[in-house]
Symmetry: C2
Subunit: 294 residues, 2 copies
């Protein structure tokens, strides 16, 4: 969907305060040029981002997204974001969102090459209509991410726990999945463990236990997965983080890819093998995810 | 260095011809906004690039760069670039370069999200002064790239042979090298082979033989390395592509990182071990690289 709102942000220092937060924001026409060609986000994919779901004007799980933005900044040696300022930016663009589902993106770029400071902006757009995907589900193929499960711990410069703008591989994996007749992919480690989807987190069900890959493999800690695990625990289910061998995918009772905007998409087929979808249960998850969450 | 010239390019189809190539170019102020925030180059690092050295207004090895641009486009499922148009763009910005050394960047982005076509542009800037680095040399550390040597062949979605805009890891590796008191890095595969530097190609000398890692490890085929190998062959040396174990780095008689703009930087220290620099020979390589090359 085309962007509806765009807000350029003059980044404050992490501890800087201001009486006039709005003065650090400049509304720009999302269809008009706003960035220079020297931007390192564009030349080097050098920056970080967050995508926040918005339901009827309410931005979901803002604090979890801001915490992850700060974590990504640390991993990438970017100046610590001023979270009060980013919170203000989220609320400002959320106010333009209106009814229905929207998506807010926060982007913090290293700035212009040799420039003095990062470039930052927030956008809002209507979300695509994912209602059918949430009920009909998705076909998924596994794709090798090339890294062993322990690579991220010993090689932090691979930035595997950071949500960087360098998403060309994630986008290529989605194209490869489509080429194979699937809707999405799940990355696996080179030594045979389950990681994450290019833009979502995997959750498996085994009886009354819900399992997601432990973030020690350098995968992103999914904000939607975190929220859903809290919800499942409240409903009396057990939730666990595990190092999951690829073979375990075939023995799961059910599986979902969860993300901030598409929410819970049940997996109907994994590498060609059918998976059962509990339509009623999946609907209950998406009902929760569509309710206002902080 | 600040950008001096920027040219937005309205991309032609690969086989499209026009009587007025200049009409497909728009000169823009490099310090003024030219890109929208919806650009996939900036949101996803989703695009490809080339950096071309320019000496006294002469762009070096243009055809090799254009060929690699086309190769990267293919690996990334981008529309094949119209090479005549890109050649025209290079000549147009090169004409603004004047005496001394400059750098031209070509960028082909997937375009605006859900937009109809790629976004493309070319820039020129004065090059940094690398004359001291070319004589005094650089200290280099090896850093694990996380992939095994055979990952790229079995997982093309890792885009390892493409020069994409998703360079956050390359930039992080350079920061890690600086943190370790070095000037640059050489990536190694997880199974112990030598790959490439974040923005350069490694060449080793063993007696009268010059060796560079075989591009089968998914590394970029360096345009400067290619040109230098031709030159070395003309001078009677042997040039070979090899799968090089990391241990071989220590037994090399000399080593260089070569790239389009910094040219041949002799390695003085590799993971803390001193390497001999033949100043005169290195100067002869840079003399060649600074001569007009097509």
């Amino acid at each position: 969907m085309a962007l509806r709102t765009a807000l350029m942000i003059a980044p404050l220092g992490a501890d800087e305060t201001t009486d006039d937060l709005a003065a650090t924001f400049t509304t720009v026409d999302p269809a008009a040029p706003a960035l220079t060609v020297g931007e390192l986000s564009t030349q080097r994919g050098d920056g970080i981002f967050e995508s926040i779901g918005v339901v009827d004007g309410h931005p979901q799980e803002v604090e979890a997204h801001l915490e992850r933005l700060a974590h990504s900044a640390q991993l990438c040696d970017l100046p610590a974001p001023n979270l009060e300022q980013w919170r203000g930016a989220v609320l400002t663009v959320a106010a333009e969102c209106g009814p229905g589902e929207s998506v807010i993106k926060l982007i913090l770029s290293r700035g212009v090459e040799h420039g003095p400071s990062p470039t930052a902006w927030a956008t809002a757009a209507s979300a695509a209509d994912f209602s059918r995907v949430r009920t009909d589900g998705i076909r998924v193929v596994t794709l090798d991410r090339g890294y062993s499960i322990d690579a991220p711990a010993s090689a932090p410069w691979l930035l595997l726990g950071a949500k960087t703008l360098s998403y060309a591989v994630n986008m290529a994996a989605l194209r490869e999945a489509h080429r194979r007749g699937a809707d999405d992919a799940v990355f696996t480690s080179s030594d045979g463990y389950v990681l994450e989807a290019p833009t979502a987190t995997l959750i498996l069900r085994r009886g009354d236990t819900f399992v997601t890959p432990a973030p020690n493999g350098g995968i992103l800690h999914g904000t939607t997965q975190l929220s859903l695990f809290e919800h499942l625990a409240d409903r009396g289910f057990t939730t666990v983080y595990e190092t999951i061998p690829v073979a375990d995918l075939r023995t799961a009772d059910a599986a979902w890819l969860v993300s901030s905007v598409r929410l819970a998409a049940p997996i109907t087929e994994l590498d060609g093998a059918a998976l059962t979808v509990d339509a009623e249960f999946t609907a209950s998850l998406n009902d929760y995810l569509l309710s206002p969450r902080d």
